[in-house]
């Protein structure tokens, strides 16, 4: 920390030192930075301190020159530091092969069927639906009777039912205890618990006495929906489900509705979408029809509403149901439903990434 030995107004020695900054090594650079710009004894700092003692004109001219020089030094020091840093890193990197694999960590993923359910739920939330759930063991009344299944009718053959070794439940809403064959009993519970307006989606497991093979499982997911209010019609059914299909699949997905039969809806329909694999030209997946059956739906049968104490003259509604397991198989091209139950790490890893 020495006083400048030369004329303090002569900036040329400093300018000469500025020119040499580009050649300094790391240690010299640090020392020079302190020598020139140091807060306590830096030469430029000292010159700046002399400014207040100068005449106004001289102060303006000299001040500008000193400040300009200060900025030039700062830039030069920074540039040199960056250059030295890059050189150091390059030196250090020599001998390291950065094409070698990076260190990993285990990555998990949700089940593909879970992701399908979450997406479906999300799309219906946008349309004002909320999630409802219910028990998987139900009485005959909730699973069949309330849903307008005629007692001992061939419609029951579509539901090979698993019964539980549990005493029959007495009362109007009782009967034998079974594993629900669809998530529709939750429609009944929702209607009983809160009358219209109703807008719910119901994800959950359903059970059938089906052999466990490539296309059947004795337990599988369903997601149903129910909307009941004044003024709901088949137009709303078509519009809501068509909107869903165009959001869930491609925006230009073709949709069609065909008559069908479910005891708890009338009129009933199946909704088909243009085959997602061949785009409608016909392939093995769609049996050459160009269409894929995606969901069953219909206008809620008046008997179902009456069974739940809802005025079926005043209120109408629609219901729908689809199988996330089946949709996951379509979406990912899974040939055998059992893969979705086997917890194979390789399988779950394959589907763990994208949508």
């Amino acid at each position: 920390m020495t006083e400048p030995r030369h004329d303090p107004s002569d900036l040329s020695p400093l300018r000469a030192r500025l020119a040499r900054v580009g050649a300094l090594d790391a240690a010299a650079l640090a020392a020079e930075r302190i020598a020139v710009l140091g807060r306590k004894g830096g030469e430029l700092t000292a010159l700046l301190r002399t400014l207040p003692s100068l005449e106004a004109d001289a102060r303006r001219a000299f001040g500008a020159a000193v400040n300009e020089l200060k900025q030039a030094f700062e830039a030069a020091f920074d540039a040199r530091a960056a250059a030295l840093d890059a050189a150091r890193r390059a030196r250090e990197a020599a001998g390291i092969d950065l094409t070698m694999p990076g260190r990993g960590r285990w990555i998990g993923a949700e089940h593909p069927v879970t992701r399908v359910i979450a997406e479906i739920v999300e799309l219906f939330r946008e349309l004002g639906f909320v999630v409802a759930t219910g028990p998987e063991a139900e009485t005959e009344w909730y699973n069949f009777g309330a849903l307008n299944f005629p007692a001992d009718h061939p419609a029951m053959d579509m539901h090979d039912t698993l019964y539980l070794d549990v005493p029959e439940v007495p009362g109007d809403r009782g009967g034998r205890v079974l594993l629900r064959t669809h998530t529709s009993p939750v429609q009944i519970r929702t209607l009983l618990e809160s009358g219209p307006p109703v807008r719910v989606v119901i994800p959950g497991l359903a059970y059938r006495n089906d052999p466990f093979d490539a296309s059947h499982a004795p337990a599988f997911t369903q997601i149903e929906g129910l909307a009941v209010d004044e003024g709901i019609s088949f137009v709303d059914l078509k519009a809501t489900l068509g909107h869903f299909a165009r959001r869930f699949f491609a925006a230009d997905t073709r949709v069609r509705f065909r008559p069908s039969f479910f005891p708890f809806t009338e009129p009933s329909a199946e909704m088909d979408v243009g085959c997602q694999i061949c785009g409608g030209r016909g392939c093995a997946a769609c049996k050459g029809t160009g269409w894929m059956e995606i969901l069953g739906c219909g206008m809620v049968h008046p008997n179902v509403l009456s069974n739940c104490g809802v005025d079926a003259e005043r209120f109408t509604g629609f219901a729908f149901g689809m199988g996330p397991h089946r949709i996951a198989m379509l979406r990912y091209g899974i040939p055998d439903i059992r893969l979705l139950y086997e917890g194979d790490m390789r399988f779950l890893g394959q589907l763990g990434g994208g949508r």
Binding site: W106, I107, H153, G242, F257, F261, D344, M345
Partner: protein, 795 residues
Amino acid sequence: MNVSVNWLSEFLRRPLDAAEVAARLGSLGAPADAIVPLHAGLGDIVVGLVESAAPHPNADRLRVCVVDDGSGTRRSVVCGAPNVTAGRRYPFAPVGATLPGGLRIEKRKLRGEVSEGMLCSARELGLGDDHHGLWELDTDAAPGTPLGAAVPLADTRLVLDVGPNRPDLLGHKGVARELAASYGVQFRLPQLPGSGGGTMAAPARAGAAGATGGVAVRIEDADGCGRFLGAVLRGVRIGPSPDWLARRLEAVGVRSINNVVDATNYVMFELNQPMHAYDLATLRGARIAARRARAGERLRTLDGVDRALDEEMTVIADAEGAIGVAGVMGGMGSEVSAETRDLFLECAWFDPARVRRTRRALGLSTEASFRFERGVDRWNGAEALRRCVELIQLTAGGDLAPDPVDLASAVTHPPRIFLRPSRVAQVLGVELTWSEIERCLVAVGATVVSKPDDGRIAVDVPGWRPDLVTEIDLVEEVARIHGYDAIPDDLRPARPGAQREDPAFGRAAQLRRALVAEGLFEAAALPMTGAAADSVRILNPLAATEGHLRASLLPGLVRLVELNWASQVRDVRLFEIGTVFAQGESGAPPRETLRLAAVITGARAPAHWSDSARTDCDIWDLKGLFERVGALVAPGNAIVPVGGALVARLDGRDAGRAGPLDADAPPWAAPLFGLELEVQVGVGTAAAYRPLPVTPAVGRDVTLLLPEELAAARVTAELAGAGEPLLEAVAVTGEYRSGDLPGGRRSVTFHLTFRATDRTLETPEVDRAESRLLGMLDRELGVHRRDQGAPAPER
């Protein structure tokens, strides 16, 4: 339901394209599961005229025939069939032709005689079982005519998926009615080949008893049998059916048996009315009754099985006992045989629920029971009986005894339903005109009987539609015939529902995200298992291994780990969130709880080239996971060791367990660990801000000698609970075990963090606080600092 496109086109009197028919039926609610072209492989076969058939010089059983196959060249054909006759026409496969079975016809020598082609039996062409000889063609077609052009072979079978509500579509007439509505054309019952039409007069309706042809007929079980028509035909000749009839049945997948049985089957497939023919000679006592079966009564049915009947079943009986199970199957003793001369024909309406119960009790589902269960036309038996008599007389002759009977225990009519067009508009969302509604109803066979002066119309529904019972059923018919495509699909605003979201769904989603972030994959095992304590049994499982509902998630996950091991996968990390079932209290339905479980085995992290040693997951990986997940599932969960495992204690009870698991592991597998926790819904602490420290902390390591039985957690708890104001945190940072340690075998290093929030701590202050804590440990636990001279364990 198998449908013949040819048959349908006879109803509609126009050629039909199978694919278009399938599309139209699909849009009406009866999609085709399959479209099966029949006999497409007979293109090479032509009509061959046998001009002469001479004995083979070298073989007794063979003949050498000269065949005109239309080519201009006479073919020499060696034939072994006994029925080959000069002047008759047979299917002929020329040299180069391929038979449906794949056999390629070549020119060859048989016992020294050249044979240039093959005269075929029906069986060789895949057209039935008759292998008694050549198929003698009933045609005048010129030799060389393609077989398919000479006899009606080419047909297409549609396998229709018919809902249980539409029995009318189990007959061709019903399907034709739908198609006619779709095409906007008329349809009518086709004329039988060679028949001038049925001549049987409609039988007069009688009460519950009557007689025809000397047979007394009674309905004794009015509940089980609502209507019973009977006719007696005498002098029939049982024999093979004509080709057209055999082909037609074959087209719907039914084997031709004989002309009488085929006639009953034909009527069933045409009109959805099962018929039954009894050999009148076998009848005991010239009496037939529809009555309840008697206790202990038995019957050998047509399939040869001796069956025990019960009083809930309706049977057809003669004077001595049952001769048929009503609506299900006839008895063997009264079966029509080659010797049968006289017939009793039954055409009845049996109660659907009764038939359903009976066929289930007998484990015997037939084409007849399938139809009766769904409901045949109660009011149209006369048409079916007339058709069946016409067909039998056409193919087997016989004289119809006068006055067939038509018994009904009560007079009934198809229902009349009132339909409000305003209801149609309310449900469908479109205003349809009166005339459009009427058009749709008439198309399905209903009769609109009054005009809309009081805002509704009266509709008489047809007997073949037992599914049409209430107004909404008619609304559906209007929608179906008007066309679902014709209803618009404008997305309109809707009120939100009055329901609150079930929090369990979002809770499960939150836990899933956390476990995925832990590097685990979600699995979804089948929720059925073998027997386990307290598990709920399934009464009718398909497999014993799936005979119970899971009482716990872990066994299922362990099974999945074993499957992974079986695929040589060593590193497995799975979790599942799902319902488990426990026996309900005193006979109540099962208790269902939402649980979360996870299993980990194998490497702690993916292999990396920079790490030479591979470290497998151990109990500490499990405990860490258990602590994190346990806190997330319920913040109140306290993880405590019990035996060799860990338990999550919540409100004084066990809410979860974790520990090593037993499994069927290959020798190379790593140890397996698992955890299972109850998922608490609607819990969770609100996160809150606390000021971040602005003063520096001072850390001190103290290494303590712990007696073997003293848990480190006890020391931590004593330290944390000592009330030392400067102590901010305690952490365990090391453990050292050795027999050389004085006073015990174990030393544990605790890292103490001291801080004052208002000032920078001075060293003497920290020293005093540390001494206070060590003194407290000495007093409370008798624990001392490890001797300073011993080597410090380094981790």
